[in-house]
């Protein structure tokens, strides 16, 4: 996995893209009337999050498809390793790579915007959890879908849905007071929100602006959500991969 990442220049492309984002951020925030540091922190925080998630999703989807087509996965499975264990180990190695990318992002963020250290650490930890969660979700889609493009689109669609999951709750609340159609839609939103993680609670930019506020649930929510969702997505991936013909 690490060799593939190096061969595909993941660890070159992502830092370069993030450095460009940092430069753009510095340019944009430099024009702010006041609070330039806060502006840079929130812009780079949001930008690096998108870059890391998009980069990892695209890399994983195409890596899995390549490994499937080249017979690399079949070769690994010819050894005494169960398919469930394979999913677990594969996922863990991807998560380690994701954490490395997040660490690079945190360092660039510190250089670019000097956010409060406590807030930066909490944001980085939350970002690592968000990235891990999305990596495992992408692993799930990559293993069950036959096309890398479809898997990437499904993963990114899921990510947008998960980032907007708070909105789903608001819509469901509003719909419950409407007509029959609205109420049915509201129920639909609630059903969807059962299996969509609350990524809107993760890596919030205000931590980079105002620092870590202990009164907020913050990292605890991120941790609990990750612990709740990882078994779900890994279980689903293991079940589907176990019955897959390679």
């Amino acid at each position: 996995m690490l060799i593939t990442a190096l061969r595909d220049r993941l660890f070159l492309a992502l830092p370069v893209m993030m450095a460009l984002a940092a430069a753009l951020t510095a340019f944009l925030s430099g024009s702010a009337l006041i609070e330039q540091r806060e502006m840079a922190a929130s812009f780079f925080g949001a930008g690096s999050r998108v870059l890391i998630i998009f980069g990892m999703v695209i890399f994983i989807c195409f890596h899995i498809r390549q490994a499937m087509d080249s017979g690399e996965i079949a070769l690994i499975l010819s050894r005494p390793i169960s398919r469930g264990a394979f999913v677990l180990v594969y996922g863990a190695s991807m998560v380690i790579m994701g954490i490395v990318c997040v660490a690079i992002g945190v360092i660039l963020l510190w250089i670019c915007a000097r956010p409060p250290l406590g807030g930066l650490l909490v944001w980085g930890a939350s970002m690592a959890l968000e990235t891990s969660l999305m990596i495992l979700t992408t692993l799930f889609f990559g293993l069950i879908l036959a096309s890398a493009v479809t898997a990437a689109l499904a993963s990114l669609g899921f990510y947008f849905l998960a980032r907007m999951s708070g909105l789903l709750g608001i819509l469901a609340d509003h719909a419950s007071t409407g007509g029959m159609m609205d109420q049915a839609l509201g129920k639909g939103f609630i059903l969807i929100s059962f299996i969509v993680p609350r990524l809107d609670l993760f890596s919030r930019s205000e931590w980079l602006v105002y620092g870590w506020n202990a009164q907020e649930p913050g990292l605890i929510w991120s941790l609990l959500q990750t612990l709740a969702f990882i078994p779900l997505v890994l279980g689903a991936a293991a079940i589907d991969f176990s019955r897959k013909r390679l």
Binding site: S31, A32, E35, G166, V209
Partner: protein, 238 residues
Amino acid sequence: MQGQGSLRNVPRKYFVVLLAGLLTQMLFWAQSHTPRNEWRVVRLAAPSAALADALRVADDQFAYRALALGLQNAGDFAGEMTPLKDFDYGRLAGWFSLLSEIDPDSQYIPALAGYYYGQSRNPDQLRHIVTYLQQLSAKYPQKHWRWLAYSVYLARHRIKDQSLALELAYQLAALQVADLPIWTRQMPAFVLADIGEKEAARDILEAILATSPDLQQAEQNFIRNYIDTRLGKISGSK
């Protein structure tokens, strides 16, 4: 076999297509690079609070900063500047209020409203700014009481509406905020002195002197000097 071969192996027609594309792109640029003024006015009224909740739910701090920077640069695009008189201040004030709800702690939007959009010479436009600053400081006095003081300045010196300035000054003096500087309580007196109500101004300043035994000597001296030189002698004071 991997790697890049020599460019000589590439058919020339591809270079022709490339050059034609480059030429077309440059022609397009020549026609399209003239400054556009997409943000001539704040075209859209601020959305409702409910819609704003929906928009900012993914990352409200990023939404706040991005919209704030957009408001700062509204009207200025690709080298073209829009005079402040051409802005719709009613809509601007709507955006200011909305964004201040998204992040009540930030000073960015009130600073933008007061120091940048507050440079307008049109009193009608400035009234929108004053109303926004007044409402903000009334809602979050601990963090934003200074903007009420600034709105007194706008009303007094820019709009030149002394009754409005006096009303704002009284609101400022009445704020229940810990460690508020003494000059906030003196503000109504300054406005009253401006409009010729010297006796009322003197009453206020004397009351401050009488009810603030812990006032620093320099502050006491300033108040006494102000009364002496601007309002006339105090009867019975040291």
